[in-house]
Amino acid sequence: MKVLYSWLRDFVDVTDGPAEIGRRLSLRGLALEGIEPAPAGEEPPGRTPIDGDAVLDFDVTANRPDCMSVVGIAREIATVYRLPLRLPAPDAPGHLRTGALTPVDQATFRVTLEAPALCPRYVGAAATVAVGPSPGWMQRRLTALGVRPISNIVDITNYVLLELGQPMHAFDHTRLAGNAIVVRAARPGETLTTLDGKSRALTPSMLVIADAANAAAIGGVMGGLESEVRPDTTRIVFESAWFAPGSVRATSKALGLRSEASMRFERGLDQTGAGRGMARACALVEFLGAGSVDGTMVDAVARPFSPRVVPLTHAHVEGLLGMPVPVPEVERILDALGFTATADAARASWQVRVPGWRPDIARPEDLIEEVGRHHGFEHLPATFPPVFQAPPPSDPRIARDAAARRGMLALGFSEAISFAFIDAAAAAPFSAGEPPIALANPLSETFAVMRPSVLAGVIDAVSHNRRHGRRDVRLFEIATAFAARGERRSLAAAWTGAAAGDHWSGGRRDVDFFDVKGVVEHVGTALGVPLAFTLVEPDYLVAGRAAAVVAGTRQVGVCGLLAPALADARGIPRADDVYVLELDLDAITATAPPGATRVVPLPRFPAVVRDVSLLVDDTLSGATVRDTIQRAAPATLVSLREFDRYQGRGVPAGKVSVSLRLTFRADDRTLTDDEVGAAMTAVLAATRSALGAEQR
């Protein structure tokens, strides 16, 4: 809301300049957005121009329709500076006078309220006018606040809107068919050409001001072109009404039409303000010499306004704020803001009558905010809330995700954070036939659907880094993936370029499947859940370089080489091998064994190590060889692992030489050579008979 400093001074004799006023109001709830110098020019008769006049622009919060006016902001200034507020009144001199209009049931026109819920009060008054330009001082004040002067009559309606916050409208009386003003719902199929020249299709949920035949204005939003005041207009009817906020808001939104009037009505205006606005507008017609008013007004009231009375106790004020506010200060603030506080005998509580311009005040807490902000939040002490109990445990996902994060960081992966919405094409490969969750009003096609996989964002992050010259990239992200069945927390990672040895001494090696498999195993260790691998070939991974990750019997993720076509589609060079993994952390922790890790005592007896090399068919999986050995060996076999695989000279085609290290140990004795020898004999016999393996 823009206000002119000199206009404010019509109502309050503040001596501080615009900048200081802005600074002090910013600490009392009206944030100053900016100050601009105001153009010099005429002042109203009897007032002297002010040096350094300026336009102050305040950010008025949605709960304060009263501050969408010069008088509303002047009232705040008067409260801050402890100065009296001077309002336009019938006995005020000069340009601050208001009219005194005689209420009548029917004037030269009739008013009918057919939709009392949407318009409970409508004030109309007629005048005979000579349309012409308004005086320079009025034009200057309107222009300074961004309103274009049009004619004396239209300028008066805008002047009252800015000054008092009461939207006004002027109809050409002669164009109101049947001398009737009917406030009713729009008829199905009804249209109206508004002042901006656009034809508007109306619906029955919208409120119109109509004459005996047609809609002449959209209530609280905009007038119609047909009945507008023109240079040759001689008779007018002023409208000053109260329209229900929800209806104006819905209509304005549906029509895509916001006006100075609709902006105020939709926040909720003062039901008692309609009469004041009319009295002010009529007085200005005569003060400007723009015509003569009839002196009567039709004040149609379907539902009389009854002011709210809110109880307030002093103990509540101090108890909620946590600071002392003396009783006289509470009363001073309420009085200055226009509340009428009636104290009990002990002055420990009040019945507070709320003025019509404060529809936001409904509860004691609302009044406490008024007292608190004008007493000053700077007086709040910094104290601590008492602790009532030990805090309940935090969300288990936080510690779980932190463990996974530490695991990934230790393996050289940096942490990424991506937008949760991605383009539909990026989501498609991960949707598994199920359509992703789409947004109704995305910012752009780039952000059209919620990611079904966190991998999508990580892949785009790899692409970004590749485009910026980074060959070796390791990134991971822990975030939410979305599907119709719900949200799940996912760990996704991508690894491209060097796996090791990017050093002048050599030994560089590019990442391969076993690197990414090792990462998955490490995450399993970090989370305390053993992870296994089975064959899977989703479309977005390369067949033969992909595995499903399994916890217990449940698939909890995948790892493998990203399909080159997909990498290419996201801007990654086709030649790059990008290994990826994605793990469903919620699914993994759901299978976690209960209970804490328990330390296994260190062995008391030495282990015996035996290496063996076997020639087997190269189609035989490592797991099959290990399983065969495991089944044949006694319980003293405590560890078994491949340490070499060799094909080439000395190994027949179709065969591979697998070297395994077997570690035997017993808990209760030192194993003898004979025992280990017998175990090895059993192992070799089993591999020979079951797998056709020969010892090399």
Partner: protein
């Protein structure tokens, strides 16, 4: 006969000559230094033709009474020469590198260690601060229903405050139970599952879910991503992260909120950081306040970062609105509470002088690698 004075002058000139010869040897390349030292040894301490021996040869020419004094002077010179040469030899030996020596100036082999994302660092810092203050830390669903995101927070349909947060809606409502691992076994006030229709615009939705499930007192922070239909620019992204704080109990005051936020500001931005409350409006708090911290660059004297105001806005806060308590079945005459919501990006931008919020979402390693591991 020679006089002692003459010979003393001669010793001085020898001393001077040795100092010069030693400096010349020091100036030779390291590879030739041993040879230079050896040559000096021969020239000065050689038994027959060395210069010390030469000096000694003058002894007989002195009167017997002066011989002792002369001998002491020559010996002193001899000791000095021998000491200097031994020192040079020791230094040279120490500097000689073994054949398998490494060039310690070559780059080390960097272990692969990942870097934390700055938003993750701030998030953890905030979690740590509030854990220290006795809060539980929670996360909540990112896809929400209208009731928890708006209606229960005193923002009924057609409330003008809904315009303050431009909402992203789902094209089709989702029927899925929100994931809330902290949910109580018995939650008599929780509403039945509702169609999820929007991306939460603030973490405040969590307040409602938690209070429906648990009786007061409450002392929690909820951290996570939130979504608004804001175009990308230097200070806006359509997704950002928020930290929500909520304390409910008997006698909670606005002053408690100030003390709490002051403690947080000092922990985040350094001891002595000032905070300032400015009255504001949020539908779900009454009274409401925007909170500023004294500019961390200029300490309040005014600079471009704070637009010369000396203050930086970091969060919105207030006392929980009684209508919110009513929505979750708390009795507003029994309990009060405070709530606050802070942007994690905003804090990160201030802490590390990040001028463009979009950098947080590009995941450029050149950016990420500037943060701790």
């Amino acid at each position: 006969m020679s006089s002692l004075d003459e010979l003393t002058a001669l010793i001085s000139s020898y001393q001077q000559a040795f100092t010069e010869a030693l400096a010349a040897a020091d100036g030779t390349p390291a590879s030739a230094r041993q040879a230079a030292i050896d040559a000096l040894k021969v020239a000065w301490t050689g038994r027959k033709s060395g210069k010390i021996a030469d000096l000694m040869a003058h002894l007989p020419s002195l009167p017997p009474a002066d011989r002792k004094a002369f001998g002491q002077q020559v010996n002193a010179l001899k000791t000095a020469v021998e000491t200097a040469l031994a020192d040079r030899e020791a230094r040279l030996a120490a500097s000689r590198r073994p054949a398998d020596a490494v060039d310690i100036t070559l780059p080390g082999r960097a272990p692969a260690i990942g870097h934390r994302h700055p938003l993750s660092l701030v998030r953890e810092e905030v979690q740590t601060i509030f854990t220290r203050l006795g809060y539980q830390v929670l996360e909540g669903p990112e896809i929400e229903d209208d009731y928890h995101n708006f209606e229960a927070l005193n923002m009924p349909e057609s409330h003008p405050a809904r315009d303050m947060q431009d909402t992203l809606y789902l094209a089709r409502a989702v029927q899925a139970a929100p994931v809330t691992p902290w949910a109580a076994a018995e939650a008599p006030r929780a509403r039945g599952p509702q169609p999820l229709t929007l991306l939460r615009t603030h973490t405040s939705a969590m307040q409602i879910r938690y209070m429906e499930q648990h009786d007061p007192p409450v002392r929690l922070v909820a951290i996570g991503p939130v979504y608004r239909r804001d175009n990308l620019d230097l200070t806006h992204t359509p997704m950002f992260h928020q930290c929500e704080g909520l304390v409910v109990g008997k006698g909670i005051t606005l002053a408690h909120l100030k003390g709490t936020l002051l403690a947080m500001a000092e922990a985040l931005f350094g001891a002595g950081t000032q905070v300032r409350f400015r009255p504001s409006f949020f539908p779900y708090t009454e009274p409401s306040a925007e909170v500023d911290v004294a500019c961390i660059r200029c300490k309040g004297t005014g600079c471009p970062v704070c637009k010369h105001t000396g203050w930086l806005e970091i969060l919105g806060s207030g006392m929980v609105h009684p209508a919110v308590f009513e929505a979750v079945g708390y009795d507003p005459s029994e309990v009060t509470g405070f709530a606050f919501g802070m942007g994690i990006e905003r804090v990160a931008m201030l802490k590390w002088d990040v001028g463009d919020i979009r950098l947080f979402y590009e995941n450029d390693l050149r950016f990420l690698e500037q943060f701790s591991v």
